[in-house]
Every structure is written in structure tokens, then in C-alpha cells.
């Protein structure tokens, strides 16, 4: 409903519209009432599919109706033979596709599609992937479709390499495809894992990515998506958590520790301090005397030296 262009109407057109609206409202109200009556009576039949379908194709946010359709299909699953059942599910997929063409950003419609695919006897996952390709051609930034794609990939075990190649193709056709860069950041650690590298991703692959992203911002230096990705790549070299230095002051009865990474020392995430074989307890605070994330921590322990 957003982003409509302004159109001026004459009084005559308005009157015709009013009449049309009135008629539509009557149909809408009657259909809604009939639906709930059927749901109450557990009439899980094709008429119920037809009426809810008519309402949902104009109002895809009517969540109760999607849930009624769910119940109908779960009922079909108990009573219909596999072949007929699969056909009904396929029709549901066609119906959903027609809804998505009108409103490709409806949360409810995509959610129902997930239900259909995981419930039908013989799901065709390849076709779903093609559907995603098609919708991403219409709008390469439709995150609903990207999310659904990730669901399809996960459920049907599409190789991560295939998806990686898909993002490569998308980026080749448009460097500014931030959604694709995002997807790559998720695929790399799966595809080229290296447990010895601090980033978890193989060094040579990181260098290749570095090359790709450089090409992107050489082509269009004002494009934020490649710079964000560039920054992420550079940030892969994070250090392992370790103690950098420790300073102990007998005079002030305190111990100062600096770490390689910021961390929060708290009751849930505590530090064991052992002096001369004895556990020493004490409160840890950062340089600002706060219990907030920092690389620098200090503890004043009055009982440090009692044991020695």
C-alpha cells in the first residue's frame, strides 16, 4: 500500500468507486463470516480453500486464515492418498506464487510456503530454488526471498559451493548487491574452513575475496556494500583471547591485567586467581572502575598477601 502515485479523480469516478467498494465490502464480510463458521464446524474441504484463498489474495496479512489453511492441509494429510495429496499441495504452491507476485513482501505468505514445503509428501526443492532466482531477478534486495532461499538451501542440503557461485554471478551483474555480499560472509566459513587460521577461513580464499572486493570498489568507490565487506574481511584477523601483560603491586595490593581482546569479567564470566596455590577472590573492574567490556582489568584484593 506504500508508494502509490497520486491520481486525481473526478466526482463521477468517485461515485462509481464508492459503489464498487460497497459491493466488495459485502462480499468480503460474507466470506470472512463463512470462513470462521467452517473452521468452527471443522469443514476442512475445498470450498474452505477457495474462500480463504479469495480473501488472502487481497489480504495476505490475515494470519488466522493461513492457520486455517494449515489445518485443512494437515487434515488432508490424514485422509487423502499420496498422489492426490501431493497434487493439492502443488496447487497450493501455485496459489502462493500468485499471491507473491502481487505482494512479494508478505511475511505470512512466505511463512506458509515453508509450511507447505516441509509438509507435502514429494517436495520439489529444485523448483523452489528456481523460484527464488526468479523473484531475485525482479528485486534483488527482497530480503524475504533471500531468507526463504536460505531455508530452501538448509532444508534440501544445497551445496554451499553452489550458493557461493550464485552470489558470485549476482555480484558480477551488479557490484552493489549488498545482499549477496552479506550471504558470502555467511558461506565462506562453511565452505573454506580453517581451524588454524584465526578467522576460521583459509588464507588464500580470503586473499581472493580481497581481490574481488577491490575490483568492486575500484569500479564504484561510492558504493558502501563493498566497503562494508572489505572492512569485514580485514577484521578476520582477530586475535585469540590471551593475557597480554600482568602487573602486580604489593604496595597497593592490586593486580592489573591487560588482554588481547575486550572482555567482560563478571560473576558469570569469572577469572580464577591463584596465588601460592590458594584461590584469591576479588572484584574486577575496568580502567573506568566499571563492570563493562574492556581489555584492561584491575582487582583490589585485600587478602592477597595473607597467605604468603
Amino acid at each position: 500500500m506504500h508508494g502509490r502515485l497520486k491520481v486525481r479523480t473526478t466526482a463521477e469516478q468517485q461515485e462509481a468507486k464508492r459503489k464498487e467498494r460497497e459491493k466488495k465490502q459485502k462480499i468480503y464480510t460474507a466470506a470472512t463470516q463463512r470462513t470462521f463458521q467452517k473452521r468452527e464446524n471443522k469443514e476442512y474441504d475445498e470450498e474452505a480453500l477457495k474462500i480463504t484463498g479469495e480473501i488472502l489474495s487481497v489480504n495476505p496479512d490475515f494470519y488466522s486464515l493461513w492457520n486455517f489453511r494449515k489445518e485443512i492441509f494437515l487434515h488432508f494429510k490424514d485422509v487423502k492418498p499420496t498422489e492426490e495429496l501431493n497434487k493439492l499441495f502443488e496447487e497450493e504452491l501455485y496459489f502462493l506464487e500468485s499471491c507473491l507476485k502481487v505482494n512479494p513482501k508478505s511475511y505470512g505468505t512466505w511463512h506458509h510456503r515453508c509450511f507447505v514445503m516441509t509438509t507435502m509428501p514429494i517436495p520439489d526443492w529444485t523448483r523452489e530454488l528456481q523460484l527464488c532466482n526468479k523473484f531475485l531477478e525482479y528485486d534483488e534486495r527482497n530480503f524475504h526471498c533471500w531468507d526463504y532461499r536460505r531455508f530452501v538451501v538448509k532444508t534440501s542440503n544445497v551445496p554451499a559451493k553452489d550458493e557461493f557461485d550464485f552470489t558470485t554471478a549476482k555480484i558480477a551483474s551488479n557490484f552493489s548487491n549488498y545482499s549477496s555480499w552479506h550471504y558470502r560472509s555467511k558461506l565462506l566459513p562453511q565452505l573454506y574452513p580453517d581451524s588454524h587460521h584465526s578467522s576460521g577461513v583459509q588464507e588464500d580464499i580470503l586473499l581472493q575475496e580481497f581481490e574481488t572486493v577491490q575490483n568492486a570498489f575500484f569500479t564504484d568507490p561510492n558504493d558502501q556494500s563493498s566497503w562494508f565487506y572489505h572492512r569485514w574481511l580485514l577484521g578476520r584477523g582477530c586475535r585469540k583471547l590471551d593475557i597480554d601483560s600482568v602487573y602486580i603491586s604489593r604496595h597497593k595490593s592490586c593486580i592489573l591485567v591487560t588482554f588481547t581482546k575486550t572482555l567482560l569479567i563478571s560473576r558469570e564470566n569469572s577469572i580464577n586467581l591463584v596465588i601460592n596455590g590458594k584461590d584469591v577472590e576479588g572484584e574486577w573492574l575496568n580502567q573506568k572502575q566499571q563492570a563493562k567490556y574492556s581489555t584492561f582489568w584491575i582487582s583490589f584484593c585485600n587478602n592477597f598477601w595473607c597467605s604468603s
Binding site: 467498494r21 533471500w146 562494508f228
Partner: protein, 354 residues
């Protein structure tokens, strides 16, 4: 041009008043969530500092909102379905007693409508005495998923960051966090941070201005923002947010600007205390370009028709900028500071009476 840049305060008040009475047909898809539209209008009028125009209708509106409360039946078998419904679309009675006695099997609250109903009651100055707080918390608990996120309805729906925000507002307004496992919700938010440091609708999903606001506002209401993210993480988040501005704000890199992000991103910047680093003139200029000088209200883009959501967030965007004639916002709670003060007063009363 000069004329264009004038903020048409009174026209916007009228725009929201009209929305409370009658809606154009393109709003039909929102029939099941009318409460949400009412919230935009009520909070809009409040931020415009014009609640007095509702003096005559105030009590009726409050009564209508309470009529949407799903109350427990005698055996409390529907306790997990309690909250507020979005409209009487499924045929529930207006009279709450009647509705309780003649309950419709599929009747249930919707998390977004529960949230907007509570906010609207606070805005209208109600004392919240007719809320069944215990039932609302029970209904909310039933919606939280294992991963910490929330669904919208007990029968099942998608679950994501939008509903974590709704849940946080509900708990905050009730001054009772028993409806939520906070640790799990925080975990869900942390897992939804992406490589750019902003937040997506859920783990693994693309970062976006909307869910980023929802996550940061939720953590603020929980009092957990500083303990959840490191300074470095907050820095990355701030950087991503400030980069969302071109004239107004967009929701993701390389997307067009849109009025509502002047609120989603603007309020996030306000919470992160760097709103003043954004360009106020550009931001105001864009919002006013989407102002409708005939009907009042704001649209998503210039030269398009205004709608309730963008009208409200346009007003909020201008309030964050300190536009004269508007009252200040509580950026995390998404209501006016005045309404938020009233809420603090209610909380104090509850404390004294307990």
C-alpha cells in the same frame, strides 16, 4: 520551494483524526490489525501536542481498546491466548463480559496489537486498571520460542526481531518481565548481529534498519545495552547507522531513502547518543519533501500518497530533530516523553499500592 518546506502542523493533526474515523480502501489488508493503525494516529496526535482534539472521543477510544482485550475464560484454559486482538474481525463481542462468556475458539491476542493497545492506553492517559496483567504476561510467555525470539500469535506464525521489540515494550509497560526469558532474548539479538555490526530479523539474516532499531530499543528497555555489546561492537553499529543517511535515511546500503527510516535509524542514533552526528538539515529536508500539502500526512517517497505508518514516522523523525510544535519522543519506547512520564507515574502508583 519555500512553501514546500513549511511544516503543516494542523493538517497532520487532521490527517490522523481522519484515520481514526475512516480509511481508504487500500488499507483493507490491515483490517485484522486495526489497533496498530489506531496507535499511529493516537501517538501521532500526541507527538503533535494536540491530544485536546480527542477530548470528546477519548473515553470511547479507551473503551474500544479495552474491548479488544482477550480475557481468560472461567477455567482459564485460554490463558496462553490472552493479550489484545487487532480488531473484532473474527466476530468477537464488543462487550468484554459477553465476549468472555461467548468465547470464539480461535480468538487470541496478537503481539503487535497487544503492544500498540498498551501504548495507546498510556498515551490516552488511562490508568491501566482494567488490564489483566497476569493474563497478558502468560500470553506473552507462550509466544517466546526456544531461540529467544517471539511469534505473533499462539497458533504459530513467523518469529523475528519485530516481535522481540513488541514483547519488550509489553514487559516494560507492565513493569513485569515475567513474560519473557530475558537471557534467551538477549542471546537471540546477539546471534542476529551481522558482519557489518548491525542487526537482522534473525540469525544469519541481512542487517536492516528496522530490526536494528527493534533490537537496540529492546536492549535499552531491558537495561542490557551496555552489558551486551563491547565498545568495539557498539562503534561498528554506530558506523553502520550513521552511514544510512544520504538525504533522509535508508534501511540498507544501496537502497533508496524512505521517510520511516528517519525514525528507525534516527531513534537508534538517538539511543546510541550520536544523533547529532547526522545532518539535520538534509534529514528534515527529505521528510518535508514527502509531506502531503493537500491532505496532510507523509509518504514513503516524494510525490506518492501518504499513509498512516509513514505519516507517524515522519512526525517522529521531525520530533527527533526538535521541530517546533512537536513534543519530544522516548526513542526506545516509541511514544512521547510526556506519555512515558505518565507511565512512570502509573508504575509509582502500582508500587505504592502493592
Amino acid at each position: 520551494m519555500e512553501e514546500q518546506m513549511k511544516f503543516l502542523h494542523d493538517k497532520h493533526v487532521k490527517f490522523f483524526q481522519r484515520i481514526l474515523q475512516i480509511l481508504p480502501s487500500r488499507y483493507a489488508t490491515l483490517d485484522s490489525n486495526r489497533m496498530t493503525i489506531a496507535f499511529f494516529a493516537l501517538s501521532g496526535i500526541d507527538v503533535l501536542d494536540s491530544l485536546n482534539v480527542l477530548d470528546k472521543d477519548r473515553d470511547n477510544i479507551i473503551e474500544w481498546i479495552y474491548s479488544l482485550q482477550v480475557l481468560p475464560n472461567q477455567t482459564e484454559s485460554n490463558l496462553h491466548r490472552c493479550g489484545f486482538r487487532g480488531s473484532p474481525a473474527i466476530g468477537s463481542f464488543y462487550d468484554t463480559e459477553k465476549a468472555q462468556k461467548n468465547s470464539i475458539k480461535y480468538d487470541c491476542g496478537h503481539i503487535a496489537d497487544t503492544y500498540t493497545a498498551l501504548s495507546s492506553l498510556v498515551i490516552l492517559g488511562d490508568d491501566l486498571s482494567k488490564l489483566n496483567k497476569r493474563a497478558i504476561s502468560a500470553g506473552l510467555r507462550a509466544l517466546q520460542q526456544k531461540d529467544g525470539s517471539f511469534c505473533a500469535v499462539p497458533e504459530g506464525s513467523e518469529n523475528d526481531m519485530r516481535f522481540v521489540f513488541c514483547a519488550s515494550c509489553i514487559c516494560y509497560i507492565l513493569n513485569d518481565w515475567s513474560g519473557m526469558d530475558i537471557d534467551r532474548a538477549v542471546e537471540y539479538i546477539k546471534k542476529s548481529v551481522t558482519y557489518e555490526g548491525a542487526i537482522g530479523q534473525g540469525p544469519g539474516l541481512e542487517a536492516h534498519g528496522g530490526p536494528t532499531f527493534c533490537a537496540i530499543a529492546s536492549l535499552t528497555l531491558m537495561g542490557k545495552l551496555q552489558s551486551t555489546f563491547t565498545q568495539k561492537e557498539l562503534k561498528r553499529l554506530k558506523r553502520w547507522c550513521i552511514f544510512r543517511q544520504s538525504s533522509g535515511f535508508n534501511g540498507r546500503p544501496n537502497k533508496v531513502v524512505d521517510t520511516c527510516y528517519s525514525f528507525w535509524v534516527g531513534a537508534t542514533l538517538k539511543i546510541l547518543e550520536i544523533f547529532e552526528l547526522s545532518d539535520a538539515e538534509f534529514n528534515r529536508g527529505y521528510i518535508l519533501e514527502t509531506q502531503s500539502d493537500i491532505t496532510g500526512g507523509f509518504a514513503k517517497w516524494p510525490q506518492t500518497s501518504p499513509d498512516a505508518l509513514h505519516a507517524y514516522f515522519g512526525i517522529c523523525g521531525l520530533s527527533l530533530l526538535g521541530e517546533p510544535g512537536l513534543i519530544k519522543l522516548h526513542p526506545a519506547l516509541n511514544i512521547s516523553q510526556r506519555a512515558s512520564d505518565h507511565l512512570q507515574y502509573i508504575h509509582q502508583q502500582w508500587k505504592q499500592n502493592s
